[in-house]
Amino acid sequence: MSSGLAVEIKNLVKKFKPSFRAKTIRAVDGVSLSISAGEVYGLIGPNGSGKSTTMKALLGLVAPTSGTCAIFGKDSMKVDSRNDVGFLPENPYFYKHLSGAETIRFYGKLCGMRGKELEDRVNEMLALVDLEDARDRRLGGYSKGMLQRIGLAQALVQDPRLVILDEPTAGVDPTGSRQIRDLILKLKERGITVFLCSHLLEQVQEICDQIGIIHHGKMVRQGRLEDLISLEDRTELILDQPSPELLEKIRALIASEEGSKLLSEGHPRTTLESLFLEETQ
């Protein structure tokens, strides 16, 4: 396996045999993907398409029926591969009896950290996810967004080179969702590889370099975001303060050009998310 890649999944197949049913379920069917170091990769697909199973196989939580998964060249079924990974599962519930600081400390210790290094890291992570004020509050009293952020903090505690996020903004309000999105962008700036799956396609589009679309366990489309979504035969112009005369001239020019057609015109709109954030912040 190539060690130049952060993630390399080759022909991953995962079959499940449900109890009392003869027919096996092929949750993942020959998925291959590779993520270069420092990239943000978004895996999208409908519910039950095999996204979470692919992530679990990469983390060694399920064993591939066939195929291989590697993290920085290390077989993901080996415990060693997890030195370089941070994982935030979908809707995580950490130990409710621990406070925010205790939770990060617990995961840091599991990664072999101790002493001042650990305490500094706990403080750094709490600051990163903006939970310094809630550091001594037990997680039982945390909101959904706070739990997601503390989850992200525990995922990052050992300064991993790869972060795997399963629906990182699921159930989080737009403000919390934006904070998590900004955190992911910060990780990207720091050169950390991010592998995420999400239902929020707009967010995936905003932050991902590469996209994979998975359906019925198969990878149906994959590639760089701009290559996948750009419409090469169409052009968009956005004009600031155009006069009605100028617009009329443009329309006439388009009409005079054979093969060209004006498909639509109007005022560009802000997103509901931007409007919400503008009004609530």
Binding site: V62, V79, R82, G86, F87, G112
Partner: protein
């Protein structure tokens, strides 16, 4: 972090998980169950057997033995039930809450996780046993002193000479707090540790907490009864009766699959009767307990290492 080599098993990681488990159980306020036990132990102080009259006259040690029997029985019952319930709850809850995902996605071998969880439960049981032990020793101390004071008053009235009275008082004092009693409590702790390891094994493949608890209780009952069943089987043979091949195979299977608690029970009974318990016997029982816990933990690891989440 990337170049770090993760060891096959690490005492440090086990202790981290054990400590978290202890904190979890303590903050779940599990020690509240000690309150009714404390009341029971103290309440027993005021329960007198009628040894001043009838055939039990001048047998006041029975009073102390009854106190110890009730207290040791309570410790055994609560220790074992606590071991089963707390162990059966921990792993399924971690899976349900997906806490296990985040733990196992760190460089934590599954054996470390299992050992840490089990050790955490054992530490909490040990603390609970220690508190009950202190309660038992304290109440027994005062009860023994009370009985001895009563004897000073009662035996001369029966016309006993001082030598006989001193001998009787020494006999009664032997039923007070002693190292033998501590060995009996240790035997009950070992039983709880073994049944916790059994519950851990069952919880690694069980899909429901109720199943884990019910099966562990069943194993606990079989473990308590298999010694009696084997004794009955031995008696049959001494009477010249033969046991069928199927019966012998069944007996062998039961003894291989289930722990035998009789040896632990015999230590506890000897402690209650104030009989001498050899240190060598305690060492042997400790070794047996360690063997059982180790075997069930290794089996748990086999079941858990391939488990998918």
């Amino acid at each position: 972090m990337s170049q770090a080599k993760t060891s096959f098993i690490s005492l440090r990681r086990i202790l981290i998980i054990a400590r978290s488990t202890v904190t979890q159980l303590v903050r779940m306020k599990v020690f509240w169950f000690l309150a009714p036990i404390a009341l029971l132990f103290v309440g027993l102080q005021y329960f007198d057997a009628f040894w001043y009259e009838g055939p039990e006259a001048a047998q006041p040690q029975q009073e102390l033995q009854m106190h110890k029997n009730l207290c040791l029985g309570t410790m055994m019952l609560f220790g074992s039930l606590f071991a089963i319930v707390s162990t059966a709850l921990l792993i399924p809850r971690d899976i349900e809450d997906r806490t296990l995902y985040t733990i196992l996605s760190k460089p934590v071998p599954r054996l470390d996780y299992l050992c840490g969880k089990l050790l955490g439960v054992l530490i909490v049981i040990a603390i609970a046993m220690l508190v009950m032990d202190i309660l038992l020793v304290t109440t027994l101390h005062y009860r023994t002193a009370g009985v001895l004071a009563d004897m000073d008053d009662f035996l001369p009235r029966l016309g006993w000479g001082q030598d006989l009275i001193d001998a009787k008082k020494a006999e009664i004092a032997a039923h007070g707090p002693s190292w033998g009693l501590q060995f009996g409590i240790l035997a009950h702790f070992f039983k709880a540790a073994i049944i916790a390891a059994v519950a851990l094994l069952i919880s690694t493949f069980s899909t429901s907490t109720i199943f884990t608890i019910a099966t562990s209780v069943l194993v606990w009952i079989i473990g308590a009864l298999q010694g009696i069943a084997r004794d009955a089987f031995m008696d049959d043979r001494t009477l010249g009766e033969t046991t069928s091949i199927a019966g012998r195979i069944l007996g062998t299977l039961v003894s291989l699959l289930f722990p035998d608690f009789q040896v632990f029970e015999s230590i506890a009974e000897a402690a209650a009767r104030a009989q001498e318990i050899l240190v060598l016997d305690v060492v042997k029982v400790s070794g047996l307990a360690f063997f059982y816990v180790a075997i069930y933990t290794v089996l748990s690891w086999f079941a858990f290492s391939d488990k998918e989440f």
